[in-house]
C-alpha cells in the first residue's frame, strides 16, 4: 500500500496501437488496435499463442519497431513520434531489457556486462562500482561477477542480464520470454527475483511469456489474440496456485494446447 501514491500515474500507456505488415494485397494485422495501461510497480504478463502479436507489441513498446498507428506513452512521453537518435537515448535512459537468450556479451565478464549499461550512460566510475555491487547482491550473483558468461549457468546468466536491465533504474523493464531457456529451478529463482524487485524496489516489469507457470508470478496478465486484447486477469488476493489455475482456464478458452503447460 505504500506505493499507492505513485500508482496514480500510468508508467506505460498504449493507445489504439496498430501494426500492419506486408502490402495492400497481402496485409497482415499483427496488432489490430490494442490499448492498455501499466502502473508503476506493476508486474504485468503478456500471454498469447505464437503469432498473436505479443512479440510485435513488445518490440513496439521497446521502440525497436515502429507502429503503423496509435500511440505509446512511457512515463508520459509519446515515443511513437521520436526520431532515431531520441529513441536510442530514450532506450538507454528509460528502458531495461531481458531477453530469452540472455544476450550477454561473451567477451565481457559478468561485472563488465552490468557495468556497460552504466558506462553507456556515461556514469562516473565510483557510481558504476557501487551500483553494480548493489544490484548483484540483490540478485544473488555477487560471487560470480568476475566470471565470463561461458563460465556460468543459464540461470546465472539470466540474472546477470536482469541485473544489467535494472541497474540503470529504468522506468520500465521489458522481458521477452526470460525463462524460455532456463530449467524450472532456475526459472523459479529468476521469477522470485522479479517479484522481489517489483515488491521491494518499485520496479515495473512487462513480461512476455507463453508459459503459464511463469505468468502465475505476475500481478496481472494481458491475453492477446489476433492482435487484440482478448482478456485480462488480475491476481488480487489469489495465491499463485489459484492464479495459475485461472490462467490455464483462459488459455484453454484461447485455444492454447497442453504444450503450454509446465
Amino acid at each position: 500500500m505504500k506505493n499507492l501514491k505513485k500508482r496514480t500515474a500510468p508508467i506505460l500507456k498504449v493507445k489504439n496501437l496498430e501494426k500492419y505488415y506486408g502490402n495492400k494485397n497481402n496485409l497482415t494485422k499483427a496488432l489490430a488496435g490494442i490499448s492498455f495501461e501499466v502502473q508503476t510497480g506493476e508486474y504485468v504478463g503478456v500471454m498469447g499463442a505464437s503469432g498473436s502479436g505479443k512479440t510485435t507489441l513488445l518490440n513496439c513498446i521497446s521502440t525497436i519497431d515502429n507502429a503503423t498507428s496509435g500511440h505509446i506513452f512511457i512515463n508520459g512521453k509519446n515515443v511513437t513520434n521520436l526520431d532515431q537518435q531520441e529513441l536510442t537515448k530514450f532506450r538507454r535512459e528509460q528502458l531495461g531489457f531481458v531477453f530469452q537468450d540472455f544476450n550477454l556479451l561473451d567477451t565481457l565478464t559478468a561485472y563488465e556486462n552490468i557495468a556497460l549499461a552504466l558506462a553507456i550512460l556515461k556514469k562516473p566510475v565510483e557510481e558504476i562500482d557501487e551500483k553494480v555491487h548493489k544490484v548483484a547482491k540483490l540478485l544473488g550473483i555477487g560471487k560470480i561477477l568476475d566470471r565470463f558468461p561461458y563460465q556460468i549457468s543459464g540461470g546465472q546468466k539470466q540474472r546477470v542480464a536482469s541485473a544489467r536491465a535494472i541497474v540503470t533504474e529504468p522506468s520500465l523493464v521489458l522481458a521477452d520470454e526470460p525463462t524460455g531457456a532456463l530449467d524450472s529451478k532456475s526459472a523459479q529463482t529468476l521469477l522470485l527475483s522479479f517479484q522481489q524487485l517489483v515488491r521491494d524496489h518499485n520496479a515495473t516489469i512487462l513480461m512476455v511469456t507463453h508459459d503459464a507457470f511463469s505468468a502465475s508470478y505476475c500481478n496481472r496478465i494481458l491475453f492477446i489474440r489476433d492482435g487484440k486484447l482478448f482478456n485480462q486477469l488480475v491476481r488480487g488476493r489469489d495465491n499463485r496456485k489459484q492464479f495459475f489455475d485461472k490462467i490455464i482456464d483462459v488459455i484453454s478458452l484461447l485455444g492454447g494446447s497442453s504444450n503450454d503447460l509446465t
Partner: protein, 675 residues
C-alpha cells in the same frame, strides 16, 4: 536447383563477403601480369642493344621472383579461402542435413571457387593490361629510352603465364576446399557458430613477464644487427631469430598486458565503450596472435624492401652525373686477379696510350674535342693505412699521380689547377667519394709519406673529392698527388685516356667505340667506359632494383592487408550479434561507429607500429651498408614507401572498416524491418 545455379547464387549473395578476397585476387593477377610482361614493352621504345639486353635480363629476374610471389599468393588465397569456408560451415551443414551428398556440396564449392577465380582472372588481367600501358612509359623513362610510338601493348606470353599460374592456384584451392568439407563432421558443421573460444588470458604478472621478455628479445635483435651491420652472419641470424621470437611474444602478451593495465585505470576503462573495445581486441589478438605476427613481419619486409630498394635506385641515379665527368675514359692497367689475390704484371714504364693510338691508326681528333692522357703510379702501397667505412682495406686502390698530370685533368674538367707547397702532397678520390674522404681526413692529416726518398706531409686544404674518370661502378680509388720529379722512377700501374667528344655526340660515340677498340696491348686488358653506356647501365640497374622492390613490397603489403581484412570482416559477422545488443540497450550509432573504428584501427595499427619500429632499424642497417659505398637518401624513398603503404594498407583498412560498419548497419535495418 542445379549445383551451378546454387553456387552462382551463393557468390552473388555473399558478394560483400567476397569483396576483399576478390580485390586481392584481382590485384594479385594484375601485378603478376604487369611484372611478367616487361619485355613486351620494348615494342613502343627505341632502345639500344644494351637496353634490350637489360630488359631481357629484367624479365628473367622477374620471372624467377614470380615463382616466389606465386608461392606467397597460393598461401594467401588458401588462407583467405579457409576463412570464407569457416564462416559458411553452418550453411554446408544444412545442405548435408537436407540430404545433399558431400559430393554435391564439394561440387558447389568447386563451382564457386571457379566462378570467383574466373571473374578475378578476367578482371585482373584486364586491369593488368591497362596498367602495363602506363608502366611501359615509366620503364622507358627509367631506362632513359625514347618512346617511338604509343601503341597498345599486350603480352601473350605473360597472359598465358598468368592464366597458368593462377589456374593452378585455383585448382589447388579447390582441392583444399574439398578436403576441408570432406573432413568435417556434420555435428561440427551444424554447431559451428556456437563454438565458443573460452580463452582466458594469462594473469597480469605472467603477461607482464612475457611482455618484458619480448621487449628483451627485440632489444637483443636490434642491438645485434645495429652493432654488426651486415658483416657477421652469426649475428644476423641471432638478430633474425630473436626478432621473430620477440615479435611473436610481443603480440602474445600485448593485449593481455595492456588490458590488465588499463583495467587498473578504472576511469579510462569504464569510459564510454572502451571496456567493450578492449575486450573485443583482446579476444581477437589472443586467438589471432600468430597471424598478427606474420602480418607484422610481412609489413616489415615490405617496408624495408620498398624503402631501401628505392633508396638504392635513387642513389644509382644520383651517381650518374658524378660518374661521368667526360664522355669517355679508356683505361689500361694491372688487373686484380681474385684467384691469386695479386695484380697481373704491368710494364713498369706504363703504356703510352697516345702513342698506341697513333700506332693503331686511330685519329683521336676525328671524335674528340679534347683529351688528356694520365698515368697512375704504384707507390709504397701500404704507406697510407686508411680503411673505409665498411672496413675494406683501400691500399690496393692507392695510386700516385704527378701534379702536372693531375692539373691536366683539372683543366679538362674546367677547374683551376692546384699547386703544392714544399714537401707536401694532395689527396683526391677518383669518384664520388666525398663521404668517405671526410671520414678519413683526420687520418690523412696525421700521415707522413715517403715518396721518391722525400718525406711529405698532407696539406689539409688539398684533400678533395672529384670525379676523375668515366666509370660504371664505384671504384674505391684514392689518388696521392705529388711533385712530378718524385715519381721519375716509380713503376706505372694504370694509364688512362679521358676524352671529351665533339659537338655531334652520337656520331662521336660511334666513332670512339669503333676506333678505341682497335687499341690493344698484348697481354693486358683494356677497358672503355663511355657516358652513354654508363647512363644506360645505371638506368637498367635503377629499373631492376625499383621494380623488384615494388613487386615484392606490394605483394607483401597486399598479403598483410588481406590477412587482417579477412580476419576482421569474418569476425564482424560474429560481432553483429554483439552490436545488435548494444543498439538494443540504447548505445547510439555514433558510439558504435567509434567502437568499430577504434577496433579496426588498433587491429591494423598495432602490427604496423611494430613493423615500423623493426623497419627503422632495418633501414638504418641497410643504409649503413649502402652508405659505405655511396650516399643514400633515405628521406625520399621513405616518403614514397609511406605513400604506397598508406594507399594499399590504408585501402585495406578502409575497406575493412566500412565493410564491418556496413555489416552492422545492415543488421540494424533488417532488425527494424523485421521487427
Amino acid at each position: 536447383m542445379t549445383s551451378l545455379s546454387l553456387s552462382f547464387k551463393n557468390v552473388r549473395k555473399s558478394f560483400r563477403d567476397f569483396t576483399v578476397y576478390f580485390v586481392t585476387l584481382m590485384l594479385g593477377v594484375s601485378i603478376f601480369y604487369i611484372f611478367n610482361s616487361i619485355d613486351s614493352q620494348q615494342s613502343i621504345m627505341e632502345i639500344t642493344s644494351s637496353q634490350g639486353a637489360a630488359l631481357a635480363s629484367l624479365n628473367r629476374l622477374m620471372a624467377n621472383f614470380s615463382i616466389l610471389i606465386s608461392i606467397i599468393l597460393v598461401f594467401l588465397i588458401i588462407y583467405a579461402n579457409r576463412y570464407l569456408i569457416k564462416r559458411r560451415k553452418k550453411e554446408f551443414g544444412v545442405y548435408l542435413i537436407l540430404g545433399m551428398s558431400r559430393r554435391r556440396v564439394s561440387q558447389i564449392l568447386v563451382l564457386e571457387t571457379a566462378f570467383v577465380g574466373l571473374i578475378a582472372l578476367v578482371a585482373g588481367s584486364a586491369f593488368g593490361i591497362l596498367l602495363s600501358q602506363g608502366m611501359a612509359a615509366l620503364t622507358a623513362k627509367l631506362l632513359g629510352a625514347g618512346i617511338v610510338n604509343f601503341q597498345f601493348i599486350f603480352s601473350v606470353s605473360a597472359l598465358k603465364k598468368t592464366l597458368l599460374y593462377f589456374g593452378l592456384t585455383f585448382i589447388l584451392t579447390m582441392i583444399f576446399n574439398i578436403i576441408m568439407v570432406r573432413r568435417q563432421k556434420l555435428l561440427n558443421l551444424i554447431y559451428a557458430s556456437r563454438q565458443n573460444e573460452g580463452f582466458k588470458p594469462p594473469r597480469l604478472a605472467l603477461s607482464a613477464l612475457i611482455f618484458l621478455l619480448s621487449i628483451g628479445c627485440l632489444a637483443v635483435s636490434y642491438s645485434a644487427i645495429l652493432n654488426s651491420g651486415l658483416l657477421s652472419v652469426a649475428l644476423i641470424w641471432t638478430s633474425v631469430i630473436s626478432g621473430v621470437v620477440g615479435t611473436f611474444l610481443f603480440f602474445f602478451s600485448l593485449s593481455g598486458f595492456f588490458l590488465k593495465l588499463i583495467q587498473r585505470m578504472k576511469k579510462l576503462y569504464f569510459k564510454n565503450m572502451n571496456m567493450f573495445v578492449l575486450r573485443q581486441i583482446n579476444s581477437k589478438i589472443n586467438t589471432n596472435y600468430i597471424s598478427i605476427t606474420f602480418v607484422c613481419l610481412m609489413l616489415f619486409i615490405s617496408i624495408c624492401t620498398l624503402s631501401s630498394g628505392m633508396g638504392l635506385a635513387k642513389a644509382v641515379t644520383d651517381d650518374i652525373s658524378r660518374n661521368t665527368p667526360y664522355d669517355a675514359t679508356l683505361s689500361i692497367g694491372a688487373q686484380y686477379n681474385c684467384n691469386t689475390n695479386s695484380y697481373n704484371s704491368y710494364p713498369a714504364a706504363g703504356v703510352d696510350l697516345l702513342a698506341e693510338a697513333k700506332k693503331h691508326n686511330v685519329n683521336l681528333d676525328s671524335f674528340a674535342k679534347s683529351y688528356v692522357a694520365v698515368r697512375y703510379y704504384n707507390g709504397e702501397a701500404s704507406s697510407l693505412d686508411i680503411k673505409n667505412g665498411a672496413g675494406i682495406d683501400l691500399n690496393n686502390e692507392l695510386y700516385y699521380v704527378k701534379l702536372s698530370d693531375y692539373n691536366k685533368v683539372m683543366e679538362l674538367q674546367g677547374l683551376a689547377p692546384i699547386t703544392l707547397a714544399e714537401n707536401s702532397y694532395a689527396v683526391d678520390s677518383t669518384t664520388a667519394y666525398d663521404k668517405w674522404i671526410v671520414m678519413a681526413k683526420d687520418k690523412i692529416i696525421e700521415t707522413t709519406l715517403t715518396v721518391g726518398g722525400r718525406k711529405l706531409s698532407a696539406s689539409p686544404e688539398r684533400i678533395s673529392s672529384h670525379s676523375l674518370e668515366v666509370a660504371g661502378n664505384y671504384t674505391l680509388d684514392l689518388l696521392i698527388i705529388v711533385p712530378d720529379e718524385l715519381l721519375a722512377n716509380a713503376p706505372a700501374k694504370r694509364d688512362l685516356l679521358h676524352i671529351k667528344y665533339l659537338e655531334n655526340k652520337a656520331l662521336s660515340e660511334d666513332l670512339a667505340v669503333k676506333n678505341l677498340s682497335k687499341i690493344t696491348v698484348e697481354g693486358i686488358a683494356e677497358r672503355l667506359e663511355t657516358k652513354k653506356l654508363v647512363v644506360e647501365d645505371s638506368g637498367s640497374t635503377t629499373t631492376t632494383i625499383s621494380y623488384l622492390a615494388v613487386y615484392l613490397g606490394v605483394i607483401f603489403l597486399i598479403a598483410s592487408g588481406t590477412v587482417l581484412a579477412i580476419a576482421q570482416l569474418s569476425e564482424a559477422n560474429d560481432n553483429v550479434r554483439r552490436y545488435k545488443l548494444l543498439h538494443k540497450i540504447g548505445t547510439d550509432e555514433r558510439q558504435i561507429n567509434r567502437a568499430v573504428f577504434l577496433q579496426n584501427l588498433i587491429y591494423f595499427g598495432v602490427p604496423l607500429t611494430l613493423a615500423l619500429a623493426h623497419s627503422i632499424i632495418g633501414v638504418i642497417v641497410a643504409a649503413q651498408a649502402i652508405n659505405s659505398f655511396r650516399g643514400m637518401n633515405i628521406l625520399d624513398s621513405s616518403l614514397i614507401t609511406a605513400l604506397i603503404i598508406v594507399s594499399i594498407y590504408g585501402g585495406y583498412f578502409l575497406i575493412t572498416y566500412l565493410g564491418s560498419k556496413n555489416v552492422i548497419i545492415r543488421e540494424y535495418s533488417r532488425q527494424e524491418k523485421e521487427g
